[in-house]
Symmetry: C2
């Protein structure tokens, strides 16, 4: 045996995206990186806000005994306090510091909570399309992710969900603002979802958790705010990161927050602290904890992404591409002409545009464009989108 | 179900150490933190080397597009190059950058490699005493850690090992310099271990990996160096961190290195990169990668810990405590008088000294003192150690 059977399969399964990534690299090598329009990666092009850079310089210079030392696995007490205060304002109810475990980003937070709650064979439900790393995160800890159709507006379909919730369901996972659709779930949806989960938990004789993955909460447009989840369902848990709202995904800082009214609050927080420790995270990086605590509430200006959305959407609408305008995130999820997601990716690649097929999110028939790129890239890419569309129309 | 059965048990299992930690907190509250001699934690008291602080300030101020952005999951290419160059010198053979995956410390690196290699039910062997987080790290990924007796010098007992190696064995885990004993495994031991694993791998028809957890490599005394593992066994993997040699355990930075001559090098590195990603680490923190790359090879002065060791050992020897002087780390692992590890911990606590019982490392009959504390704490604690020894002698 070279490596584990599961990992060998995992590496092979990941190879579609890798092959595409490599095709992009080959393309970049052929025509020059600057001549490729790369809409494939959710890597924010915006610099972190000035407040982050100021806090970084201040914290770097700070002399403080034990500044880079171990701490409680849940994180620095003062950082948890500052973060809890900001979260309380956001959720509209008091969240104590004890609710929070500082984590290595939202990916870390999700692994921590799945490790905490999943028994072997437990199911986690999610609406399609979805960020397919979730499959791994659930499988890592012995569970199984099941996806189900969303509504036409890409909100959770509560009718479908009701049919699928069972005694095997440990949790429902939501992601709003959504990657890849940009949809923001309405307050009514969250309220109805909470009611459904409350009723189904009673029927199943076990708590069905609601896990809200929300790293894009601050990246929303047209003045909307994302409704909080804590008020609508007591057994809810938030996983989030500062990757997108501070443009620091490489620094791996975020947190997990357990609803203070959760039925098994003490078990959940103690379990999550232990999971954070034994999965090898131990604690979230100390320096980044201090910085995000200090500037809790600061974000990049979503107006910058809104301008990119408006520019890209107006042009693509005019060219005849079909999509729902995203309310948040920096993703656009158009229909693939003729339903052929691999075909559209290939047509775009011929025009030097890189994008991700819908099957990479569990929903062929669409494709994802990440518009966290420069305005110049968007502008310059528009004729290429037009030619790709024309080529697809001729071929179809 | 509140949380998973396994995590509920894990939290309960962890409660011995937690209760001791809490007893220490109670003691500190009663008599004042400054009046407690805390030898319980492996949290280095030394400040990071000046080169770290200088690099931190420089890197914080650096303006660089995408400085805090995503990167390849294995880490920043230039950091892997710099780290590989330092590792090549240390191991005495050329290690390419492709061997390295930057990780969230050694705890992250160990989880990554166990995730990569373990099939359900696979065994990992380790000598007692050992750092008991290993139990969790192996269990997280479906394996089972089995411990076996060490030699009287706390080196791996190859006769015992030979009896236990089987077709179920995925790996042997070593830790030199060792926590909690301070033992450094000799070159002869590593050579014989390599020969044994090569032979047993052949017999079993599967590669048995040697995993070397070595965060204390630079903390050694009396001018010795720790023999490298790569030259002695091709299917070896190093997990390490900068936590101890740079005194930055809270920053979570380290790496995994696969022996360039490993039989399944490509599978191992591809698997480890995927494991790093899907366990939610995604990548090691970007800023700390840049800093450790820049100052690769820099360490705290082990002479400072050597002085502490000499002072503590001389006094405790004179008082009649029995132990082998550590060759590295900042731990001392004396015998518990009468073999009662909980008894000695209680006798020490009465004298305001905090320590960890041997059972916390799978070996009752001993206890661990972490001497990464101030010289003043060591000096001031000596009369308390003497009184505790006397009390134990009277009680026995």
């Amino acid at each position: 045996m070279s490596v584990s059977v599961k990992m060998k399969e995992g590496v092979e399964r990941s190879s579609l995206v890798r092959r595409m990534f490599e095709a992009g690299m080959v393309l970049a090598a052929e025509v020059g990186r600057e001549n490729v329009y790369d809409f494939s990666l959710g890597n924010p092009n915006m610099a972190p806000p000035p407040a982050f850079q100021e806090a970084l310089i201040r914290q770097a210079a700070l002399e403080l005994p034990g500044k880079h030392g171990y701490m409680a696995n849940a994180g620095l007490p003062e950082v948890r306090e500052l973060t809890a205060a900001a979260l309380s304002r956001e959720q509209g109810l008091p969240v104590p510091a004890e609710s929070l475990i500082m984590t290595c980003g939202a990916g870390g937070a999700l692994n921590v909570i799945f490790k905490t709650i999943l028994n072997p064979g437990d199911r986690v439900l999610v609406s399609r399309p979805y960020f397919m790393e979730y499959d791994f995160y659930v499988d890592n800890h012995g569970g199984l992710l099941e996806s189900l159709p969303a509504t036409p507006d890409f909100e959770p379909d509560l009718g479908e969900l009701e049919k699928r919730l069972s005694g095997k369901t440990a949790a429902v996972l939501i992601n709003s603002p959504n990657n890849p659709t940009g949809a923001v779930y309405g307050e009514g949806t969250l309220r109805a979802l909470g009611d459904l989960l409350r009723q189904k938990s009673r029927e199943a004789g076990r708590v069905i958790y609601l896990i809200s993955d929300e790293p894009y909460r601050k990246i929303v447009f047209d003045g909307i705010t994302v409704p909080p989840v804590f008020p609508y369902y007591e057994n809810s848990i938030i996983a989030t990161s500062y990757s997108k709202n501070l443009s620091i995904p490489g620094e791996r800082i975020g947190y997990l927050a357990v609803n203070p009214r959760a039925e098994f609050f003490a078990d959940l927080t103690a379990g999550a602290v232990l999971a954070n420790r034994i999965l090898g995270f131990v604690n979230a990086p100390a320096l980044m904890q201090r910085i995000t605590g200090e500037i809790a509430g600061v974000s990049v200006d979503p107006g910058v992404y809104q301008k990119k959305r408006d520019c890209l959407c107006a042009a693509l609408e005019e060219q005849g591409w079909e999509f729902k305008r995203p309310q948040g995130t920096f993703y656009l999820f158009p229909k693939a002409p003729g339903g052929d997601d691999l075909g559209v990716i290939e047509a775009l690649r011929r025009e030097r545009i890189l994008a991700v097929p819908g099957r990479g999110f569990g929903l062929p028939g669409y494709f994802r464009l990440a518009f966290c790129v420069s305005d110049q890239t968007i502008q310059a890419s528009l004729p290429s989108f037009k030619r790709a569309k024309a080529a697809l129309a001729q071929g179809g």
